[in-house]
Symmetry: C2
Subunit: 457 residues, 2 copies
């Protein structure tokens, strides 16, 4: 039995055996209180040791912070506060000792320090909670889409397509660097794939190929940006969720995005109550109220043009000036959701100049059917669009932007053979975890962060 | 409503609207039968067109194979065979035309040809079924572990650790190749991560760090091998499932592997009945019986030494001779499961020389607590082990094999601070899909295969 289950069990003086790691050992003359944790939940299980029953002083000394132990004893109601049950030890067995240079002694450590011991930080309250909430959110994502008949699609990680255009790419190669010579040039025919290959920045274009085959699909996998951004919101390697729906327009896309966000948040509130209480108390006060608000709000929906008008008449001083045509900055996004609408707001129909080539052009010829979900406390959390489904219009956009038609052969085929309106969006998983947990630095919501000059463990 | 739901609906002459792609259009003088498919299931929905009701000849001509259409009409019981309901059309709307050069005309195409049009093959019966079954299996994997309290862990894709040692690695870089010069050497301090980085070959070592923090974890993500293997069983990019359990020995590991395989297979049999019937009929006759057999069998468990004895007394001619110490070849693995035990068999306690350094050494000093699950029709499907949890023994193994202690600093810490018995295994997801669907070539069970000289789409 794991501690999570034990803590939910009614104590009827039954015999139990439990294994875990010692968090604290308060040793006194006649008895000792050992708190053990096995990572199944935030709470420790308290072990009461009567030294007349457990007489081996050496075992009690070795049951120090960080040691792994097995406790055999009786599950009883706890007389103390903070737990309903505890174990009256009959036998303690040391599984693995823990020497005194263990970096995770009782005191509180900074997140910066804990990043340096990434292989151990999962043993702390904060990072145990992060990884449990992350896991619950990952499952909620799969559950949401599977319940709605979406097909989980694994789009390629290594790609030779430059067509994605969403950011700087990492190159993937097996060429022996040592043999390179700038005079001879690079012979990609000798590389593993026979041509230049990179890590994907988005699964969207591939997802469109399957959405126009089996209807509704979603990807959930790692994506990459080789951008030299050292901020609390950027990772070089992060996980992204990208649904794509056939026979769906911008309105259906907004409906799904709203339903999706509420579902994930409600799932976490329901299934991770203890960990979420921890974040609310120690990491980000008020996060629970904020999330409950999002889960129960009707999201506002306004056009980009309306949003700009709201910002222009705003009684606020923005760092970046506002006028029709600008890309919204984080300050604008937060002002809209926090001050104007006081709830999440979906802004749609953006100027085509600031959005990607594949987004569906509106009849006005100026705006495209893009939509961004802006949430209080964070700004943009989801970005999506209806895709251009007209072969002729897409070709014209590709030409207009000076892109190569040949690079988009297969993508254009989807518009040539039985084209359908389709739409989708992308959600950066780590930003969503930051939003849900209130963790300030994105490096702290993924087990091992990859950022410029940092690829440890 | 999608076609999967419509086909399960009781026909009561209700009005419906349905969208999909035309598979066939049998047009005759007085009426037409149009079969449409939307990818929600294998079956088409039959549309009956009375030309006195739908009078636009041009629309009927354009509703050709591959075109996307909307049909408005009445859902009625079908008088024909093969379907319980059909739609009596009142109006047909062309959403997207499909010209005659559409590569997916009615005739059957070879899988080789379909690989060349990977962006369209999801529209065929076979590849629609593959991606639906793949998605169901992916969800079953998450469901299995989440129901058992495992934490889903996203281990890094880009790694600077050479410690994994499971195969040839792809290098990941942002260095401008053009500036290289073999005389100057490579200045990795200028690379994105400030050192040489590669694509992961396994998440296991990272998984161990979190298993010894939160107990039971599993990874399910892409892994990579830069091996020049052009076979029907190798991909350069494939998805792998790797559970890792704290406080677990080789026996618990075998229990979990058996339970896991049965669960995935049962889930697919239950949730993908129509697609599985298709595979049983057209792709691999008898696959359903084989899978039902695996789902209900008690797996045999034998030591490597016993398995070798069985092979030595076998009345079979093997290409590779058998003696204690050899690595089992596929022919041996299949002989054991198909001829000797006639069911899946788990072989454990392998000679240490043929297994990885991190596997727990047995008391005999000769064998390690490795285990492989061998299944009829395929051979090895799962490989795992109890991990070496003794700091001293692991150090000795690292030295013995001439590895660098420094490379394993953080891995050794797990044995230094509160070590626990722990175990896990790996399952190649695409091989499992091959096993379940009977698809002969691994390139055909992933949307876009990456193999030597092949990185298309």
């Amino acid at each position: 039995m794991r501690i999570k289950q034990i803590l939910q069990t009614k104590a009827e003086e039954q015999k139990i055996s439990v294994k875990g790691w010692v968090r604290t050992n308060r040793d006194s003359k006649a008895n000792a209180f050992i708190a053990i944790n096995d990572g199944s939940c935030m709470s420790n299980l308290q072990v009461f040791v009567d030294k007349e029953i457990v007489t081996d002083q050496d075992v009690l000394r070795r049951a120090a912070t960080g040691a792994s132990i097995e406790v055999k004893g009786i599950l009883v109601e706890s007389p103390g506060q903070g737990q309903s049950v505890e174990v009256r030890a009959e036998e303690i067995i040391i599984i693995g000792d823990c020497p005194e240079d263990y970096p995770l002694q009782k005191k509180r450590h900074s997140n910066e320090f804990l990043r340096e011991i990434g292989h151990l930080r999962g043993r702390t309250n904060t990072f145990g909670a992060v990884v449990r909430v992350r896991s619950a959110m990952a499952f909620a994502i799969h559950k949401f889409f599977q319940e709605r008949g979406f097909v989980n699609l694994h789009t390629p990680i290594i790609t030779a397509s430059d067509a994605e255009g969403a950011g700087e790419m990492f190159q993937v190669t097996t060429l022996p660097f040592e043999s390179f010579n700038s005079q001879n040039g690079i012979d990609y025919s000798r590389d593993f794939f026979g041509k230049k290959a990179s890590l994907t920045v988005s699964g969207q274009l591939s997802a469109e190929t399957y959405a126009t085959a089996v209807g509704d699909v979603y990807t959930f996998g790692p994506t990459f940006r080789a951008e030299n951004s050292n901020t609390t919101r950027h990772l070089a390697e992060f996980w992204m969720v990208e649904p794509e729906m056939a026979f769906c327009d911008i309105n259906g896309d907004m409906d799904l995005a709203e339903e999706f966000l509420k579902y994930i948040i409600s799932y976490v509130l329901e299934n991770c109550a203890e960990d979420m209480e921890f974040f609310n108390k120690w990491v980000c006060k008020g996060i629970l109220d904020q999330l409950r608000g999002v889960a129960s709000a009707d999201f506002a929906r306004v056009t980009y043009t309306e949003a700009i008008a709201e910002l222009e008449k705003a009684n606020a001083k923005f760092e970046f000036p506002v006028s029709w045509g600008i890309d919204l900055a984080s300050e604008h996004e937060r002002y809209l959701s926090e001050e104007v609408y006081k709830r999440p707001v979906i802004v749609y129909n953006y100027p085509k100049e600031i959005k990607a080539f594949y987004m569906k052009l509106n009849e006005d010829g100026k705006t495209v059917r893009a939509m961004d979900v802006l949430a209080p406390g964070i700004g943009e959390i989801i970005g999506g669009s209806e895709r251009e489904d007209s072969y002729e219009t897409l070709i014209a956009r590709i030409d207009e932007l000076g892109l190569n038609r040949e690079d988009y052969d297969w993508y254009l085929d989807l518009r040539k053979y039985g084209t359908v309106p389709h739409a989708g969006f992308g959600l950066g998983f780590e930003r969503m975890i930051q939003y849900v947990t209130g963790m300030a630095n994105i490096r702290d919501v993924i087990p091992y962060a990859r950022t410029p000059k940092n690829c440890n463990f």
